[in-house]
């Protein structure tokens, strides 16, 4: 399935898709406001970008130092070259502990590795403890956004599934009431779990510690009550020194949701007395991306979600339309590196307006990389078949870089204008689901005609 087809499905529910668009724009706006309260904001982005550049240029050195220091602190470090090995390591630990039920806080890496279905197949009950993730888990869905997992759902749908799963009052869709019901339900799970799984936001080479950030406190509730903490970390999550956390923690939450910091930022250095911490370092395609020079710095991503919130396509097509664990602009760079065939339409799901690049806290040149992928895909697919879908798409998008170069500044203005004036007026390209080739042409021409004065 290609992105435009999936996007069309999302747009069928007009009210929800409009809400989705406006809500994410609101989050983007909060990010703008809070970033403007930090005078050194641009300097911090530059620092973060340079620190990550340094990390990628010395990745092997930092990983080895990180392992050495973590082991010295009593953390058990594992290495997994791919998703399969990662999942096997987790299962092995669970078997050793005779553990049949785990609690898990938000981890995009475990989504990427499809850990939940793997463990369930092996008889392990997995409870996602982030509220949004628990909601989508009840619905047998994946998160549609990396920071706001249930952003595609309305409270009525959540009320219905909670009524079914948690016996809440039928029709009561009050967010406070529903959150309380989840709290009671999850308390029971926390108190019963022997093993807790978390992701990792940052691993510090210098100290061997790692940091996990949440607003709900769910990661901490899980790991401090369990006997064993399994932390799953992509190898690119490493940073050199503790002092660098100062830079990244100032940027992360402000970029993600417009808060100045997440309410809980936990630094794990060694296990509590009598407990265990296992840390799994996962490659799963990251070394391959490191080798692609043009796309290398996509590995700088700290998963804040800002590029999704600002993206005019993401906001209007929903996370599921990307069919990739990380959706949105950054996902459209990362996913083709993992499976080019499957994700070949993603780099075309962009206006190349550059708004993603503007908000990215680590200054990834996202829209330029999307453009690069288009070149790669067009080359590789036209070699196979002159009439391939990518070829058709490519024909259509030649107007896009054109529009980008000619009127980049105005394009940015259009981000704000588009929601009302174009999207819901029947001119919307992603809404009407016509053949993709014509779409960018027409929308840009229309827009351009209207705004050239």
């Amino acid at each position: 399935m290609s992105h435009p087809v999936e996007a069309e499905a999302f747009l069928k529910d007009k009210a929800t898709s409009k809400w989705h668009d406006e809500t994410l724009w609101f989050v983007r706006d909060k990010r703008d406001k809070v970033s403007k309260t930090v005078p050194e904001w641009e300097e911090l982005r530059e620092l973060a970008s340079q620190i990550k550049d340094n990390v990628l240029s010395q990745l092997e050195v930092y990983l080895e130092a990180f392992e050495k220091n973590a082991v010295a602190n009593g953390i058990q470090v594992h290495w997994a070259k791919d998703a399969q090995e990662h999942n096997k390591i987790v299962l092995e630990i669970l078997k050793n502990k005779k553990c049949k039920a785990i609690v898990k806080s938000k981890s995009i890496l475990t989504e990427e590795c499809h850990l939940n279905p793997f463990l369930e197949k092996n008889g392990v009950e997995v409870v996602d403890t982030d509220l949004g993730e628990r909601i989508v888990q009840f619905l047998n869905q994946a998160p549609s956004h990396i920071v706001l997992p249930a952003i595609h759902l309305k409270k009525g749908q959540i009320s219905d599934i909670f009524h079914e799963k948690l016996q809440t009052e039928k029709g009561n869709d009050d967010p406070t009431y529903l959150t309380q019901a989840a709290r009671v339900h999850l308390r029971g799970k926390f108190l019963g779990a022997k093993v807790a799984v978390t992701g990792v936001n940052f691993g510090v080479a210098e100290t061997g510690e790692f940091v996990v950030c949440t607003n709900e406190g769910n990661a901490d509730m899980g790991v401090h009550l369990a006997d064993v903490h399994i932390a799953c970390m992509g190898i690119e999550k490493i940073i050199p020194k503790r002092e660098h956390l100062g830079v990244f923690l100032r940027l992360l939450a402000r970029s993600a949701t417009g808060q100045s910091i997440t309410n809980y930022n936990s630094h794990f250095r060694s296990p509590a007395v009598g407990k265990e911490i296992h840390l799994i370092l996962v490659d799963n395609g990251r070394t391959a991306q490191l080798g692609r020079e043009k796309f290398r710095n996509s590995l700088k991503c700290i998963r804040c979600g800002a590029c999704m919130n600002t993206c005019p396509i993401y906001r209007r097509s929903g996370g599921f339309s990307y069919k990739s664990t990380v959706p949105g602009p950054i996902g459209s760079i990362l996913s083709p590196g993992i499976d080019l065939q499957k994700h070949s339409s993603l780099p075309f799901a962009s206006t190349l307006c550059g708004s993603c690049t503007d908000v990215c806290p680590v200054k990834i040149n996202i829209h330029e990389q999307l453009y690069e992928w288009r070149q790669e895909i067009t080359k590789s697919q036209s070699a196979l078949n002159g009439k391939s879908i990518a070829m058709k798409i490519a024909n259509g998008i030649f107007s896009v870089p054109f529009a980008y170069h000619v009127s980049g500044a105005m394009m940015r203005g259009a981000l704000k204008i588009l929601p009302e004036s174009v999207t819901y007026s029947g001119l919307n390209t992603w809404g009407k689901g016509r053949d993709l080739p014509e779409l960018p042409k027409e929308s840009f021409r229309n827009w351009y005609e209207k705004n050239r004065k």
């Binding site: 409270k155 926390f190 009550l225 100032r250």
Partner: protein, 187 residues
């Protein structure tokens, strides 16, 4: 297992790169009024600021029947015995803990394992009061990491507010999985 380590590291080494130097983090101006900025940050994180009188009123009231504090000076208020097994803290209504320092720019307060006794204490308790010395307010996160240096506590955490979520239609709800409130007393 070591196979994968070697596999990953050799794949990385095979990628030719020139070393890019680490930048130095410069000095950034601190907020002019640390106390005011800190209090505003706590409020915007949905925490509360308690006066010392307000704190004493809570201690004199029956609002939180099961209370525990590891702070020597407040032991007299304890109505809950520290359990061996941290799971038993699930019954706790209120924990009172001492923060090492607070960060004005975002309201983050730093704790280490030693301040909490059980790592789960500030999360599992229904409500949390933090006592913090005004002298221990810092301007920003850079100052915070400089201050903690390379202390070797097994666990440290910045807490900046109560447990909260906006996962249902972006409506903010306080009291998700952790403490339902955070009150800070500056002394």
């Amino acid at each position: 297992m070591n196979n994968s380590k070697d596999n990953i590291l050799s794949k990385i080494r095979a990628v030719k790169r020139t070393e890019i130097p680490l930048p130095t983090i410069g000095e950034f101006a601190h907020p002019a009024d640390l106390k005011k900025t800190f209090c505003e940050a706590i409020l915007s994180n949905k925490g509360e600021i308690l006066t010392q009188e307000g704190f004493m009123e809570i201690m004199a009231s029956a609002d939180f029947p099961k209370r525990y504090s590891p702070i020597e000076a407040y032991r007299k208020f304890n109505t809950f015995k520290l359990p061996q097994d941290p799971h038993a803290l699930n019954d706790l209504d209120l924990a009172i803990v001492q923060g090492q320092f607070g960060v004005a720019e975002n309201g983050a307060i730093w704790f280490e394992e030693e301040d909490l006794i059980h790592r789960v204490l500030p999360f599992i308790t229904d409500h949390l009061i933090v006592v913090l010395s005004i002298d221990n307010l810092l301007g920003n996160m850079h100052a915070a990491y400089e201050r903690m240096d390379n202390n070797h506590s097994g666990f440290g955490v910045f807490i900046a507010g109560p447990s909260k979520t906006a996962d249902i239609e972006q409506s903010l709800v306080i009291g998700a999985q952790g403490a339902r409130s955070l009150k800070v007393v500056l002394v």
